[in-house]
């Protein structure tokens, strides 16, 4: 096995080398060294050109003077050396290491792991073996794709669309305030396809307005069929690119006029580029003037959210579930959620926390002054046919709880 150790400190290279050799029972390790990213890259290029030894493992430090670990990562990502197993060692804190892992995984490199210094060589070698075994098994999973850019046009129709509704609960009173519509596509025998898969595909195929229309129609007809639902708001997701279509905006406004007894709200999903264009701002203004409130979805996930808060009079912001679901154990997330809630309160905007799964998280949100909660704690998304039952049961339970107080 040919191993390349990249570190700018000779004693670290030496100690890793010694440990490796000590564990090398079969005497087949050949160790190469480089004192920086640049030298490592030169060495890998030389080996590739002259057909010298192929490296079976690269162990690289992150912070080095002559070309850092990121340079090595970039080199691997852009050359045929992509398949060389890579292990990163560093004395950085755990959050930086997580960031590095994300970068490496994003490049699809053959990534063994990140290790804090001092490196435990035994653990690394064990991971390497495990990693190799996993790789061999991998191709079976996900080889059949349910939904891709070729069949999305065909899949996206009324027959395949299946809507579920997730309740939004006012934290202070425990009362149901409304429901968010969540779309699924159901394909024969293969279960459901979820929005995280098909929305990007629909966008790329230019079908997003069509999707939003289908969802709007099915959801409004649910609210029409069961008038009790009109007590609750109905939130439908739209993407920023939907706003670019004047036809779509007119369509929504007309629908809303015809069903004005339904409290319709649109949840705008973040998308980087389109939102601040004049056209989208105009579209939002038009919706707001026509009494369709706008909610800003996935707040905190994108980089330019503050910008948006300034230019658009949103009625509601929704904190992304990734920040909420573990805020009782992740201090970082707690701080982020706390500031979003404070911001929303100052701006006088209703704030919804998504991804509430446990009583502990709900309690924290209550203390932080969050208005509304949504998540598995109250209920996973509910199929239309079970919606009335759920509401009845929930309200009954609610009354019992109040009686008990």
């Amino acid at each position: 096995m040919n191993i390349l150790i990249v570190d700018d400190q000779a004693f670290i290279r030496a100690s890793i080398k010694n440990e490796l050799l000590a564990l090398d029972n079969e005497h087949n390790f050949k160790i190469f060294e480089a004192d920086g990213g640049n030298e490592a890259i030169k060495l890998m290029e030389k080996h590739a050109i002259h057909g010298l030894e192929v490296f079976d493992l690269v162990i690289a430090d992150l912070k080095m003077d002559n070309g850092d670990g990121l340079a090595v990562i970039n080199h691997l990502a852009t050359t045929k050396n992509k398949s060389i197993p890579l292990a990163i060692i560093s004395s950085s804190d755990i959050r930086t290491l997580e960031l590095i892992s994300n970068i490496i995984n994003g490049f699809n490199l053959n990534f063994v792991g990140v290790y804090q210094k001092p490196l435990k060589v035994g653990a690394l070698l064990k991971d390497l073996v495990q990693h190799r075994d996993k790789k061999e098994d991998l191709p079976k999973v996900g080889s059949q794709v349910l939904c891709n850019e070729y069949n999305i046009t065909e899949l996206l129709n009324e027959d395949n669309l299946f809507l579920c509704y997730q309740p939004k609960i006012e934290i202070i009173s425990g009362k149901i305030v409304g429901f968010e519509v969540l779309a699924r596509l159901c394909v024969k025998g293969d279960g459901f396809i979820y929005p995280d898969k098909f929305i990007p595909l629909a966008e790329r195929a230019g079908l997003n307005c069509q999707l939003a229309k289908l969802v709007l129609n099915q959801a409004l007809s649910q609210w029409q069929l069961f008038p009790i639902l009109k007590d609750y708001s109905l939130s439908v997701n739209i993407s920023a690119s939907d706003l670019l279509s004047i036809d779509f905006i007119d369509y929504v406004i007309e629908k809303h006029l015809n069903t004005s007894d339904i409290k319709l709200m649109l949840e705008l999903t973040e998308s980087q580029d389109t939102i601040n264009q004049d056209k989208t701002l105009q579209a939002l203004a038009k919706l707001i003037i026509n009494n369709i409130p706008i909610s800003l979805d996935d707040f905190g996930k994108s980089y330019s959210t503050f910008d948006r808060l300034d230019s658009i009079p949103f009625d509601e912001i929704k904190i992304d579930k990734d920040f909420v679901s573990d805020l009782d154990s992740n201090n970082q997330h707690l701080v982020i959620v706390e500031s979003i809630i404070a911001l929303a309160n100052k701006l006088n905007v209703n704030v919804v926390a998504e991804g509430v799964e446990t009583a502990a998280v709900l309690k924290q949100l209550k203390n932080l002054g969050c208005d509304t909660a949504q998540g598995y704690y109250f209920s996973p998304p509910i199929e239309g046919r079970h919606l009335l039952n759920w509401i009845n049961e929930y309200n009954l339970r609610d009354e019992e709880n109040y009686a008990a107080c």
Binding site: L161, C186, G191, A219, S221, S325, Y376, Y377, R385
Partner: protein, 299 residues
């Protein structure tokens, strides 16, 4: 297609069925009789999710309809019956395609604690520690175990699961704690979900049989709305992924030098029924299973 039977049994014309569906489900707000006629002739068939919606409007369950369908039962059989050839890979040293029986046990069974310990060691889930010494079994009475045993009582497959409220399930999925303490501390609410904590079998057919043992229990109890898997065994996770399921949460926990990833999957009844593989497992009753296992697969 069973739809025609359903319609005739309820004494409806195609128009009436169409109107009825339009009035009772927003999934069919645009339905026309042409579509209904196509369904009945099998020209195109609604997805399993929509089939479930239709039959439930007539107080039936998709599982009961499909369990009366011999062709479908045959598909079920191939999932669990023991292959005649000995080529199947087994990850048990002494087991290859012999007959076995599956039974579900709880705290009242003498072997419960021993099997539970074995399962905990197998699953190696750091969020589910069972702290010894265990002076009383109190708190574990809701826990159920399916075990498959072959000759000499050898355990060749197991499933660990419990029925509890969905709120409790999400607490369990999120919290790192002692299993026993956790289960006994959970508020006593009406169970509306099933949580599976470990599931394994020596061969693929055995894995399927074990899964069907609890999924069938799930499907028979209409009060259960959600089926949740929270597992860290790579083999089983891969199996769920191959069945086109996706984890809603992956938690990484350090265990010594290793990192363990606990994958949690959540399925509503409809999501389960909409997945043909899981629907087949749900249809297999303990009786079916026993028959399928003893009559060896004839191809």
């Amino acid at each position: 297609m069973f739809l025609k039977h359903l319609r005739l049994n309820n004494d409806l014309s195609q128009e009436q069925l169409c109107m009825h569906l339009r009035q009772h489900s927003s999934l069919f707000y645009n339905l026309d009789t042409i579509t209904v006629s196509r369904w009945e002739r099998g020209v195109n068939i609604p997805s399993l999710a929509k089939q479930a919606e239709i039959v439930e409007l007539y107080d039936k369950e998709l599982t009961s309809i499909y369990s009366a369908d011999p062709l479908f039962l045959n598909e079920c059989r191939t999932l669990v019956s023991i292959p005649k050839s000995q080529s199947t890979r087994s990850n048990h040293p002494y087991y290859s395609n012999d007959e076995y029986v599956i039974k579900t046990i709880d705290i009242n069974d003498d072997s419960f604690y021993l099997v539970l310990k074995m399962i905990m060691r197998y699953e190696n889930n750091p969020s589910l520690i069972l702290k010894p010494p265990l002076d009383s079994f109190h708190g574990l009475q809701n826990l159920k175990i399916s075990i498959a045993t072959a000759f000499n009582g050898q355990i060749v497959g197991h499933g660990l699961f419990l029925e509890t409220s969905s709120q409790n399930i999400f607490e369990l999925v999120n919290i790192k704690s002692d299993l026993k303490a956790l289960i006994s501390e959970l508020p006593n609410k009406t169970p509306d979900g099933m949580l599976v904590l470990s599931s394994a079998g020596a061969t693929i057919e055995l894995e399927n049989s074990i899964m069907s043992s609890y999924i069938n229990q799930f499907s028979n109890n209409k009060g259960l709305r959600y089926l949740c898997f929270s597992v860290c065994d790579d083999i089983f996770i891969k199996k769920l992924q191959t069945a086109k399921l996706e984890a809603f949460k992956v938690r990484n926990i350090a265990l010594g030098d290793q990192k363990v990833s606990i994958h949690s999957f959540l399925l509503s009844r409809s999501e389960l029924m909409a997945n043909r593989f899981l629907l087949k497992l749900a249809v297999i009753s303990p009786n079916h299973l026993a028959n399928f296992i003893t009559e060896k697969d004839n191809g």
